[in-house]
Symmetry: C2
DNA sequence: GTCTATAAATCGATAGAC
DNA sequence: GTCTATCGATTTATAGAC
């Protein structure tokens, strides 16, 4: 009985999942404009009608694809900053992962290409903005808490560091999509360069204007 | 006689220039995919045939548009770092300009969208890479020479600073194309955060491994 | 909910007249 | 070199059968 009952809602959930899965591969491989809904449907073993039964259109499908990717990335980042990991290793592991897994060129390229498309659809644009702000806040929290635990501080406000990392991640990925020789270590180098040990002489009340 | 003679090559040069001019407006306004060659031609006062008489196709037209924009940007930057400007003001003026004029969202959005398109055309991709490398080298030279003159140095290799600024400029512009509330001061803040006064005690021969 | 068939529109690119 | 006319190919989206 249980196997027969899942044939109702579960069946469609699988269809939707399969479509997203195939769409993700194609969007990443040939970009947003280069992907047609018909090919996605056929490759997934369905027809175009199935796509329109599960998504309002191409933009909503891509939005769903990006959501699954975002969920994966966020899960990975949260793992890297998990309490199971020694405090000293968290930042190091994250930077190592950022070299390859974070700013995958294909993903970043899709992200920015779709952002360009979304400019003409206010609803999609607002959805993207919502997601970007959430991600930025997450980065912000992870940075500030991790640095504090490690006895470090940023040389500029942490909000700006978060924005900088987000922008640089997108930019580096976009550049590398064209030029494989891009130095991805820049991401970690900049973050490292914006960090310093907490100086205990700064907040000591008296002298505030020492250098320059 | 002089006015009649320019009717040969000069006439076509004006056509080409006018097409680029209109194409630039449209590409920036509605993006690469959203711009049709027919509309460009009509808006410029010609027909589509004129476009194909002057450009090999849509991609070459966009490449020409990007080249004129790049030329403008580079000219502006060189002015900002000109010898006519006091050394202390150069970086400050550049950072002020970077807040608005450097990473215009429309331009950046076009740049990244076209980069996504160029992934499928090896020749266009190589042309873009060529341009990016030139720009990166220019940034690199300007930073290193300007900082040296001002008694400053970067906390990470200047090559990485140049790559970071290029990537962050693209990323920030792309983000702002969607979200106008993006803090563009981040660009200057990061650059400032990666700079420090030249420390005369570092290169003093003896101790090389002090911290961590 | 999925499929088939088709509508409807667009656009890049080309050929030939002038 | 520019214009007119058109090809050809694609794609999004919809309507109706099952």
């Amino acid at each position: 009985m249980s196997e027969a009952k899942v044939s109702r809602a579960e069946r469609q959930r699988q269809t939707r999942e399969r479509l997203i899965e195939v769409a993700e591969q194609m969007f990443l491989a040939v970009g947003y404009a280069g992907t047609s809904l018909d090919k996605v449907a056929v490759e997934a073993g369905f027809s175009k009608g199935a796509v329109y039964s599960n998504f309002a259109g191409k933009e909503e499908l891509c939005l769903a694809v990006l959501d699954t990717i975002h969920a994966q990335k966020i899960r990975r980042v949260l793992d890297l900053f998990s309490e199971d990991v020694p405090i000293e290793s968290r930042l190091k592991n994250f930077l190592e992962w950022s070299r390859s897994g974070l700013g995958e060129p294909q993903w970043t390229a899709l992200e920015v290409e779709f952002a360009a498309v979304a400019r003409h659809n206010p609803w999609v644009a607002s959805e993207l903005v919502k997601r970007h702000r959430e991600v930025r806040r997450l980065i912000e929290q992870l940075i500030s808490s991790t640095l504090a635990d490690a006895g470090l501080e940023t040389t500029i406000p942490v909000e700006q560091v978060a924005t900088a990392l987000l922008a640089m991640g997108a930019g580096l990925g976009g550049l590398r999509a064209l030029d494989p020789r891009i130095d991805m270590d820049v991401f970690g180098a900049v973050l490292t360069g914006l960090v310093r040990p907490i100086s205990s002489d700064e907040p000591t009340s008296s002298d505030a204007s020492s250098s320059s």
